[in-house]
């Protein structure tokens, strides 16, 4: 009309600010060398570990005559299918923030930007945010396949070419799903929306396990004969799943007869889905975004309930702090929606314990039961640590922007810390204790083991919450508006490392003497078994636990007090 031929910003320009912010943040960070060094170290450690496990399995498979390649293909298919499920869920949740809740969206929607380009830019952001962990996990897996099959470099090129469309597919499907949900639900009912996503996630996990049937793979004796087993192995998990195409593409190359069809199928499906996704975006995004902007429903003067405050018997400051924590948590969908992930984590864990092939008819060794019980203690502790990383670790970071109020008030920072500590510890105990008791019952552990592991779990929960809160204050992230970013930060990594080291030490300190004690009792029920190692072990574990409660809390309080 007035001669302006502005064509709008391209995808790269739209992504620019995000990349630049990350780079700038990194540049101004004085500890960056240490941070990156540690990240590389931990990354290499995990890679080596995963590589080692897959490598050993593949060597074992190759040793079995006839079915080795089938088993390897099956394993790859299962791993990729698991990745696909994780990616779908994580894309649905990531897309909600990248497309609808992200604060820079308002600026971009107001700018003269082509909607397909905006879709492209946000899709790339969604893929990076949701898939980096899976992509990193895939590297040692695929390298192990390459090494065991002695593949040359074209295999790794093929792997990259296979993984790229494999990441695009769930991102397109996940964000399209979110787009439709936001359109279907009136106003900002993200809460209901995420509850629905949770249902889908739970269903997804069940479906995943139905598909996997991993127990059949590890125990061929359940099949009538080898022919039956072979038949199961030969049938693809599902010919319609992209995981099968990716597995076929890679396995066909490794076993010598490269078949380009599955790869072509992956790329063409990804391209077609992208087009459909972009079309849906152009059609539905404006309405969805508008709906996401509509404020929460007004209460029109109707009072909110105060039972929470009446329930908490404490000094005014503590009472209000605790009430505030609980309210903010349950009203903030980005926070409590992560409960869904937590539920999935717990279900997967208990399910795994249940399918452990411990009781397959034969007598299980006494030693094995003990080992598994203590391993279970460590793993349940890990589940608690993972939950604490999500919910407790970000606590002080989220308070950063409210420091103007907290510091100008006569409140002692200690009170703030203790309020957060209890608000974190009690729910974690409510998760940890049933978890340890149920898994022990499934494992048919003796009452003594049940007692020891349950008591230990209480201590572990106290220590892990303190570590999460304290380290969260020592490595805060005050800038982010996305709470999900905080646990995956550098400080989050440090916390997980500390928690895992602590768990390993406690489990070792307890498992060794307890096992020795029980073995001695078994060998000679009447004779007195040596109690000293038992006392030393428990004493050591107790000492470390107390240290892990006191030291991080003190350090965190000191840090926040000196904060400027």
């Amino acid at each position: 009309m007035n001669g302006i031929t502005y064509t709008g910003a391209g995808v790269l320009r739209l992504l620019g600010p995000k990349v630049r912010s990350k780079l700038n943040r990194n540049k101004t960070d004085e500890r960056r060398r240490f941070k990156w060094g540690l990240l590389v170290f931990v990354g290499l450690f995990f890679w080596t570990f995963i590589f080692g496990v897959i490598f050993r399995m593949l060597l074992y498979f190759r040793g079995t005559q006839g079915i080795g390649d089938l088993l390897a293909a099956k394993l790859l298919g299962l791993a990729l299918l698991t990745f696909l499920m994780i990616l779908l869920l994580s894309n649905v949740i990531t897309a909600l923030s990248t497309f609808f809740l992200s604060q820079d969206m308002e600026l971009l929607v107001a700018a003269p930007v082509d909607s397909v380009k905006l879709y492209g830019a946000r899709l790339v952001e969604t893929i990076v945010d949701s898939s980096w962990m899976v992509a990193l996990l895939a590297i040692p897996l695929l390298v192990a396949y390459g090494v065991v099959y002695g593949a040359s470099w074209p295999f790794y090129g093929l792997a990259v070419a296979t993984i790229i469309p494999y990441l695009v597919l769930p991102a397109v499907v996940g964000s399209a799903f979110t787009l439709m949900l936001v359109n279907v639900f009136p106003a900002r009912r993200t809460r209901d929306l995420l509850a629905l996503i949770g249902l889908f996630a739970a269903a997804g996990v069940v479906v995943l396990f139905r598909f996997l049937r991993p127990e059949r793979l590890v125990s061929p004796d359940q099949f009538r004969d080898l022919v039956d087993f072979m038949a199961v192995l030969r049938t693809p998990t599902s010919p319609w799943l992209p995981s099968e195409w990716a597995a076929q593409s890679l396995m066909s190359y490794l076993t010598g007869g490269f078949d380009p069809f599955p790869l072509a199928l992956l790329w063409s499906t990804a391209a077609a889905f992208f087009v459909i996704g972009a079309w849906l975006h152009v059609r539905l995004f404006r309405t969805g975004f508008t709906r996401a902007q509509e404020g929460a429903e007004l209460r029109k003067g109707e009072a909110r309930s105060r039972w929470l405050e009446r329930l908490i018997r404490a000094a005014p400051a503590t009472r209000q702090l605790v009430a505030k924590e609980i309210r903010v948590f349950f009203r903030d969908t980005t926070q409590w929606s992560q409960l869904i992930l937590l539920a999935v984590l717990v279900v997967v864990y208990v399910y795994n314990i249940k399918v452990l092939p411990l009781y397959t008819g034969e007598e299980v060794s006494f030693f094995l039961i003990n080992v598994v019980s203590f391993l279970n203690l460590g793993l349940a502790g890990f589940v608690v640590a993972a939950i604490a990383a999500r919910f407790v670790f970000p606590g002080m970071s989220l308070e950063g922007r409210m420091m103007w109020l907290l510091r100008s008030s006569p409140l002692d920072i200690r009170t703030l810390f203790l309020a957060k500590y209890w608000v974190g510890t009690i729910p974690l105990l409510l998760i940890a204790l049933p978890l340890i008791v149920v898994t022990n019952i499934i494992l048919q552990a003796s009452p003594l083991i049940l007692g020891i592991t349950t008591v230990t779990m209480v201590g572990v929960t106290f220590a892990i919450t303190a570590l999460a809160l304290g380290l969260g204050a020592l490595f805060p992230n005050y800038e982010t508006d996305n709470m999900a970013e905080i646990p995956t930060s550098f400080g989050g990594l440090i916390f997980m490392m500390c928690a895992v080291s602590y768990l390993v030490v406690v489990v070792i300190l307890l498992a060794w003497p307890v096992n020795g004690f029980l073995q001695a009792r078994l060998a000679d029920p009447s004779g007195g078994a040596a109690v000293t190692p038992l006392l030393l072990g428990t004493g050591g574990a107790l000492l470390i636990t107390v240290a892990c409660v006191v030291v991080p809390l003190r350090a965190g309080i000191r840090r926040v007090r000196s904060l400027q």
Partner: protein
């Protein structure tokens, strides 16, 4: 209408004012310095504000106003020097000192997921006063600000001005002796701005003290008893309006002229005058 608002304010301000242990000076800054690495944000400020005074703090952008205010509120620690609130040194007796202050920062972050009423109870709790009397005071202030019907809505639904009114309310419910406020008028509609001016007046009548920083020079001129102008971290002029007029040697000058002169931007005064004269 203004009359009744003032009466309401007087009733709500009952009990404000110095206790028996009151010192004559409400606020005492002695040689406070704030350095960030090599950069000196505040460079040796000395200031005394007696009780019952509205003190205005002016300065160009980046002069160190907000840094000073944050040190007074106890949010930042000075690199050197001391801040004494009603006889209590912030460094050695932080709890006593802070319990005398109500602080209202410029464009602060709030708990978006709390309702206005819950936020006010939270703040009262921090000062150890989540009691019915505080709630009545809060309701009274919310009513004056036309915010009472929004009390149970989440703060995320509030407009900028509503947030500012909520903050002002939150700073007053625990009946502080000193209000420290950064840019009080930002986002307020004319009626609320008028109420705030009345509120300050009633508050100091009852013995309270106000320390405010603002760029709205008319407000500062109209409300403040004394004014300090800060530039590059140091106070370059201080006194009543008359003192300042004498300082710049201009009998009829308004605060804008004085400000531009002392901060070294006289040419700006001409630009402003030119703009006002032109036929826009």
């Amino acid at each position: 209408m203004t009359e009744s608002v003032q009466d309401q304010l007087r009733r709500l301000m009952d009990g404000v004012g110095p206790g028996e242990d009151a010192t004559p000076d409400m606020l005492e800054l002695t040689g406070i310095v704030k350095r960030y690495g090599d950069f000196v944000a505040v460079d040796g400020i000395d200031l005394r504000v007696p009780r019952g005074e509205i003190f205005g703090f002016l300065g160009p952008n980046g002069a160190g106003k907000t840094t000073t205010i944050r040190m007074i509120a106890g949010v930042l620690e000075p690199t050197e020097g001391s801040v004494v609130i009603g006889g209590n040194d912030l460094a050695t007796h932080p709890v006593e000192a802070k319990s005398r202050i109500g602080y209202i920062p410029d464009r602060p972050f709030l708990y978006e997921k709390l309702s206005g009423g819950e936020f006010l109870r939270f703040v009262s709790g921090l000062w150890g006063k989540d009691e019915p009397a505080s709630e009545d005071r809060a309701d009274g202030l919310l009513e004056i600000f036309n915010l009472l019907e929004w009390k149970h809505e989440l703060i995320e639904t509030y407009s900028h001005g509503m947030r500012q009114k909520l903050l002002i309310t939150s700073a007053l419910i625990h009946q502080p002796e000193l209000i420290v406020i950064d840019e009080p008028m930002v986002g307020l509609d004319p009626r609320s701005a008028r109420i705030l001016k009345d509120l300050f007046r009633v508050y100091v009548e009852r013995g309270g003290t106000v320390f405010l920083s603002s760029h709205t020079l008319e407000v500062v001129e109209a409300v403040c008893d004394r004014i300090a102008i800060i530039k590059e971290g140091a106070i370059i002029a201080k006194g009543t309006m008359d003192d300042l007029r004498t300082l710049v040697d201009s009998g009829g000058a308004d605060l804008e002229e004085i400000f531009l002169k002392v901060t070294g931007n006289e040419d700006m005064a001409e630009v402003v005058a030119g703009l006002q004269d032109s036929s826009f």
